[in-house]
Homo-oligomer: 461 residues x 2
Amino acid sequence: MCAALEAATTGAQTLLLEGASGLGGVSAISGGEIYLGGGTALQKATGFEDSPEEMAKFLTAALGPFADEQRIAVYSEGSAEHFDWFVKQGVPFKPGLWDKPSWVPFTDDGLMWLGENTFPFYDLAVPAPRGHRPQTPGFAGVLLMERLIGRVANSSIDVRTNTKILRLVVDGDRVAGVVVSHFGATLTLRARRGVVLCVGGFIYNDDMLALHAPHLLGHSKIGTEGDDGRGILIAQAVGAQVKNMSGGQSALNLPVQLMIRSLLLNRHGQRFINEDTYGGLIGHAALVGGHAPIYMLLDETGFEEVPEDERLGRQPAWVSDDLGELEMEIGLAEGSLQTTVGLYNRHATTGEDPQFHKRSSFVRPLSPPYGVVDVCAHEYVPDGEGGTVLNTGFGAFTTGGLATSIDGQVIDLTGNLIPGLYAAGRTASGIQASGYISGTSLGDGTFFGRRAGRAAATSLP
Amino acid sequence: MCAALEAATTGAQTLLLEGASGLGGVSAISGGEIYLGGGTALQKATGFEDSPEEMAKFLTAALGPFADEQRIAVYSEGSAEHFDWFVKQGVPFKPGLWDKPSWVPFTDDGLMWLGENTFPFYDLAVPAPRGHRPQTPGFAGVLLMERLIGRVANSSIDVRTNTKILRLVVDGDRVAGVVVSHFGATLTLRARRGVVLCVGGFIYNDDMLALHAPHLLGHSKIGTEGDDGRGILIAQAVGAQVKNMSGGQSALNLPVQLMIRSLLLNRHGQRFINEDTYGGLIGHAALVGGHAPIYMLLDETGFEEVPEDERLGRQPAWVSDDLGELEMEIGLAEGSLQTTVGLYNRHATTGEDPQFHKRSSFVRPLSPPYGVVDVCAHEYVPDGEGGTVLNTGFGAFTTGGLATSIDGQVIDLTGNLIPGLYAAGRTASGIQASGYISGTSLGDGTFFGRRAGRAAATSLP
C-alpha cells in the first residue's frame, strides 16, 4: 500500500494486486510498532531528543552483527519525514511514553522503548525511545492498516484483491509484467514502468525454510499463509540475488514482567543474556546461540510482584526452597543453579550485575522459595484471547529475501540492477541482519516500500 | 577427479577442465582425513566394529541440527565400498589407530577419532573411529591427491588445466555445454551427456559471504582463490536452487593438547562446551553461538604436560595465583572465574564433569598458578612452518551450495531436476548442516562426486 500510494502521487497509473480477499496482511495483526526516530515530531512532543546518527548506531548494533549500514543510514536519515508521512495518511499518534518493559503497551501512548536503554546499547548510542505506535491500547497494527486502506480507497489506485502473482513477464532484459491467478483464471498484465513485489516472507513455506533457515521450522509461525516465499522465488527465476536467507526473528513467547524479574537460564543452568533487554533479542540468542531449552527462575517475591493477568498463565514447573533440589528435579548439574544464583546474589545486594548488566532497578538478591518455569516445555498455554495455544517457546518469521538497492530495485546474480523489478517488505532483505527489533519490519517495509513505489513509477522503459 | 574417473569407467568420453595450472586444489593442502565407516576394511583390520546405522546416527547429530538424513543414509551405506574404491585407486592406508586428540596425527596410522567418543555422541551412537587417512604422518591430502592424479593420468580422461568456467550453455531445457576461458581465449564446449560442476565453495568471494554467511568474513580462509563461488552463481543463472548458504566451518585454531586440559571460557567467563570434543565443533559453537572472544584457562601442571612443540606458540596472556586478579585483568565480572573453576573443581575431584561432560581421563581439579590464553587476540603466531600468521582465532570455509539430488543432479527453484547439470564437492550443499566434522568434505565430495560422474555419463540427452 505504501509503494502504491507513493507511486500514485507521481501521476503513474497504479495497480495494486492483493492475493488475499482484503488488504492488510500480517501487518494488520501485528503490534503496530514502527521503529522510527532521529527526532520525529512525536519524540519532540514527548520530550525526547534524538538524531539520525544515534538511531543508526543503535540499529547497527541491535540488528547486527553485519547489518547493512548504508541502508540503516538512509533509513535513519529519512525517519522523521517518514513519521510525518504516516500522520499525513491519517494515522494518529498520541504524545506520551509507555515506560514499562512489555511486548505491547496497555495504553494508547505513542512511544515505547525497544531495548535502547538496556546493555550494551546505552553504551553504544544515546538512548531514545523509538517504538512509534498508532493511538490505541494493545495491538495497533489493525488501526495502522485501516488508515492506509482508507487512503488507498480515496486515491487513484486500482485495487484488485484475490489476485495472486504466479510469475514475472520479461521483455528483453526488462521485467514488463506479471502473470496472476484470479479465481482460477490466469491473466497476464503488462507493467508500463515497473513491478514492485511486496508479497511477504517465507515462514509458511517449510521447503524453503528447510533449505535456508531450518532453525525456524517447528515453531509458532508469525505471518499469514501468504508468506509462502513466492515473491522471492519468482524473482530468482528471472535472475535475482537473495540475501540473509537464514535470517529471522525467533521471539521467546514469555511474559516480560516475569522475565525481567527472573534469571533466564540455559540448558547448562547458566545465565546467557541480560533479562531486561528487548524480548526479540533474547529469543534470538536462545535459539541461534544454542542455549535452548530455557528455564526462568524467580523467587516468590518476583512472582507476586506480577499480577496474574500479566503472567500469560505461566506457572512454575518446579518449586523448592532448595536450589540443589531444583537442580536434581530439572536435571541440571549439581551446583550449577547454586553457583549461578550465588554469583548473581553476590552483586545484587548492591544492585549490580557486572556479568550481564541487567539494569539496577530490576536487580535484587533472590531468596527462597524459588520457582522455575519450563519455557520450552511444549505445553498448551492461554493465548490471551480465552483459548489455548501450543507453546514451543518460540514464535518465528523470516527476514531474508531479495537483494535490493536502497531504492528497492532488485539486484541480479552479477550485482547489476534488474530493469523494471522492485521489492520491499519481507520479500526483500531489509535493515535486519542477524538481530531483530520490533518495529523494524513495519518500519523498513513501509519506508523502502515508498522508495520502491516512487522509483518504479518514475523508471523509464 | 572422482567424478571424471567414475564417468570414464562407463566408457563416456570424459573431459576434465581445471581452472588452476594443476590438479589437486585445496584437497591437496588438507589434512587428508576422509570420514568413512560402517565397517570399512581398515576399521576391521584395526579391530573396530561399525555399522552404517551407527555411522548415520553420529553424522546426523554431529553435522546437525537439520542435517540431510537421506543423504547421510546413502553416504553411510556406501561408505565401506567407497573406502575400497580409494584402495583400488592406489591410496595406501595403514591399519592402526592414532588415539590422541589432535587435528592431524603425527604418525602414519590410518584411523583417528573425530569426536565419536565424546559427549554427547557416545550416548547417541556406538563409537567407532571413522577418520580414514592415507599412510603418511601429518597432512595427508597431498598423498591422496597424488594418487588420484596418477589414476587420472593413466585413464582415458582428457585433462585441460588453466581452463576456467565462465557460464553454462543451455539447449532447450537442458544444460548442453560450458563456456570457458583458457589463457584469454573464450571457448564454447558442447557436453554430449552432462556437466558436473566441482569448482569449490565461496570462501574467497567476500561479496557472496556478505550476502549469505557474513560471520565467516574476516577470519583465516581455508581454501584456494578458486573458491570464488562461480560454480554456484553460474548454476543459479540457469535456475538452480541453493541450500544452507549460511553454513560453514569455523575452526578455532588451537593446540588440541592444551585445549583438552583447559577450561574454555566465553566472554562472560563461563564454560560453553566439553573441551575434549572435536575442535571443529568447538569453533562453530564459539563463533555461531556468540561466545567469542574465547579464553583458555590452564594451570601450570596442564601447560607443563604439553611439550613446547605441541603448543603452537601459545603463551598465556595473563598469569596469576589468584582467580580474582585474573578476572580484573581480563575484564571479566568479579567472581565469574572463581565460580566457574569452583564448580568444575567440585566435581573434578572425582573425575566428573556433570555440566559439560568432558571425559574423565582429562578431568582433574585445577590449582594455582593459572595461565589464560587470549584465543581471539588477533596476534601473529607461528604458522608451524617457521613463519608467522595473523591469528584471528578462527579458520573458515563455506559448506553451502547448490541443492542436488543424491545422484548429484542440480535441483531448480521449483524442486525439479535440471537436465544435464550436476554438482559435487563444496559447489554443492553436502551432508553438513550447521555442524562440521573433519573428513566430511573430502568424504562427501569424493563419494557424491563419483555418483554425479556416473549419473552424468549415463544420462540421456
